[in-house]
Amino acid sequence: MTFRVRTVFRALLRRPAVESQLEEEMRFHIDMETRKFVERGLLPEEARREALLAFGGIEKHKEASRDATGAPVIETLLQDVRYGVRGLKRNPVFAAAAVATLALGIGANAAIFSVVHGVFLQALPYGGGDGLVRLRQDAPGINVTDAPFSPVEIADYAARNRTLAGLAEYHSMWFVLLGKPEPERVQTGVVAANYFDVLGVKPLLGRTFRAGEDAAGAEPLLLLSYDYWMRSWGGDPGVVGRALRMNDRIHTVIGVLPPMPAYPDDNDVYMPVSACPFRGRPEASHDRSLRMVQVFARVRPGVSLAAARADLGRIGQGLAAQYPGSYPAKGNEFAVTAISLREELTRAARPTFLVLFGIVGLVLLLACANVANLTLARLLRRRRELALRSALGAGRLRIARQLVTESTLVALAGGALGLLFAAGGLRLLVAFAARFTPRAREIAIDGPVLLFALVVSLVTGIAFGLIPAVSARRSLTLALQEGGDRSTSGIARHRMRSALIVLQVAISFTLLIGAGLMIRSLWKLQSVDPGFRGGRVLTTRLDLNFTRYTDAAKRWAFEKQLLERLAEEPGVVTAAISGSFPLNETGPNSGRFEIEGRPAASDDLRPQAEFQRVSFDYFSTIGVPLLSGRVFTGADSPETPRVAVISRSLARRFWETKDPVGARISFDRGKSWIAIVGVAGDVRQYGLAAAPPDEIYVALPQFPTLSGSLLVRATGSPLALARLVRETVRSVDPDQPVDRFQTLDQARSNSLASPRLTATLLSLFAALALAVTSAGIAGVMAFTVGERTHEFGIRMALGAEPGSVLTLVLRQAMTLVAAGLALGFVGAHLLARLMSGLLFEINATDPPTFLAMSVVLVVVALTASFFPARRATSVDPMIALRSA
């Protein structure tokens, strides 16, 4: 092999030498042959002619000899490339159109592939790899999904399992961190000392926790997350070793973590379980029923996920049998299982990006069809050149290779430009993907993406180059024979161009349907009544420092004072405090209750509802209507009997048509009773697409909250009130952090951001597809009209009306469009089915969408073919006939 490579190189390097040697060698041969004939008695000229005849085509043999040495593959490639570049330079409009179209197609694919690779394909950003799992326990029979674990249970699983290499507990809380100029509310991951070892995370600075540092009585330690370190400490490495005050104790910073997915929560800092004031209580480590934490584990190498699940299931059953008092009754036991972390991190993103990947694939196919069509049109103009080259001895294969080289050049240029597009849009794409997956930060235009773009460019170039090449091969001989411009050789290519137009129409229709369904779905979502009036309402997180507000009285005192001060401020209509607010990331808490006079068969079978603690102006502040009875008033105080307002859906479910006002419910199994005083309208808490949950509102003074939100209805622009709100909070408690200001309308709009972005992307693709396709139709029709000028001339000379010629051309265009629509229907149905998971209250076969998009396509196609068609009617019969 090395020998051959060397020969090739030598041949390449000494190309002129090889050429002259061949020349000399063959001249010698012919001279010798001539001499032979002269010796036999021929005249010198005759002898020479005989010798040349015997030798055959010198150039052909030269080329064959060059081919035989192996070098020509590279050499002709270079030649083809040079030739191709020259040809493209001569035809800048074609080159620009083709490169731009392909840049769109390849760029879109590279961009979506960067997500597919960054999120779905590449290894998890944890050293623990694909063996990482999260444990979960569910009891579907009693409507318990993904219940947390108790630390006692975790100890049992750690001791009894045979399939896991390590288990680590985790939960997340917020605390107030002091010691900086402003008090900071920090989201804190509370973890076992081995948590980062199980995940396989190495610190960026300092160290992670060591065994024993989570034991009772250990010194409180902190690890900073990368984002928090950058955001709040400016990336200062000197933070390691610093002592920070939190929960009335001194915490020492021991390290900084590397960038990681914000999973399971977007934590600012991490502490060992012993440092957490709640988890650190002795009963948390002893009470089996105190389920408050999650478990992460690593499956032993070589053990399958199924085996680990079976192992965990077995342990779960054993525990339920051993400690019946701590588990749901028989028949409704917890089913314990493990879900791979990879699945956890990517599940939500999968449907959207599957659809997007399919769509960009279609866009690329459309781009290819369009460029193939452009190439065919150009080929028709080049047929004399190609015929000439063929006559000069270029083989069919050589010409095909030339065409494929040119198309590959175009595709590579398109790919390079497309990568620029993809890189330019990367930040937007990452922000988009972040709405679906915590892995979004791993998305990058890196090696695999570049390789993907290169492969796609090459395949694209070869694919759309082969189509014209094949049809060129077929018709070249014909072109040669007829020589003229008006040959019938175009027919094969014309059929090909029509087929490409049909394909483009079909793809455009498919994309239009995709976009149309998404937009219709978005409209439906936007017109959903959320159950509240969000205009002019400012929201902000209000999390009280529990070390200061140790009991209900202190909390309410703060909250009451804050609300009173705010109500006096100009610009404030009403202010309220609640546990959470609708369409916020954190929803209300779910719990079980009991209705007086309707005892449940067991604790597990008590009805469930979402609980909301709200101050009395809550309903008027966010505009939730009162349907019956009364809302809370200033008279509902810690001293008066406790009262509740329930949502309409809860009232319907348990009291049907009767008025529940006056009925009583209990949260503590009948120890105390709470009277229902009113029924409020349903509110979509968890997103506009999700049904409103059953809700029980309780009065804040009677159930003061530690963690909640402040809601302020403004007379003017709500965000203008942010400073006032912050100052008012500080005036009540200077150490109280206030953050995450947003209006209720922003929260609502935010909840629609991902469907809106998906709809925008799909519409963009569909619009581009439509533009490309209409240009394609116009091009083909213009060409057809040009080819048939002669025929139209005859028709008009024989008395055809311009109108009938117009109809003739338009009918031809519409035949293509109809065929494309028929094919597109099939594609659209497939895409719609793929998308059904993304749609809200829209059937995948939504007739209005299909009808509207058909009309759009037909109108656009008619417009595109109208101008070429009108040119057909303006043909002057005499000129057309004479030029024939």
Partner: protein, 109 residues
């Protein structure tokens, strides 16, 4: 990645190798020699001789050198390499086996 070898081309290759076994020779000489040896039965298409020579050289079975011809002109002389000698032996054996087989079949008729 050996190029497709049809009977004709393969045959020409073996004839060239055989011709060069005796002595180094230039292209025209080879064509004359083959014609002469085959008593004018085999007409070598003179032009297609050169691609074959270049192919054999690329395979390393022959090598070439510029020298002076019998009439004192610069000519390119080809000679067999060691690999070419081995190749010739193999092809000759293969050819003989093939020819014998064909004649046996024909004789059996």
């Amino acid at each position: 990645m050996t190029p497709r070898t049809d009977l004709l081309q393969g045959t020409l290759d073996v004839l060239i190798l055989k011709t060069l076994r005796a002595a180094p020779m230039h292209g025209w000489g080879i064509s004359q020699r083959i014609q002469q040896l085959s008593e004018d039965v085999l007409q070598v298409n003179q032009g297609s001789l050169y691609p074959a020579l270049y192919r054999l050289e690329a395979k390393g079975w022959i090598r070439s050198e510029w020298g002076a011809s019998e009439n004192n002109r610069r000519a390119r002389f080809y000679e067999l390499t060691r690999g070419g000698r081995k190749q010739l032996a193999e092809e000759q054996e293969g050819w003989e086996r093939f020819a014998q087989a064909v004649s046996r079949v024909l004789a059996a008729g």
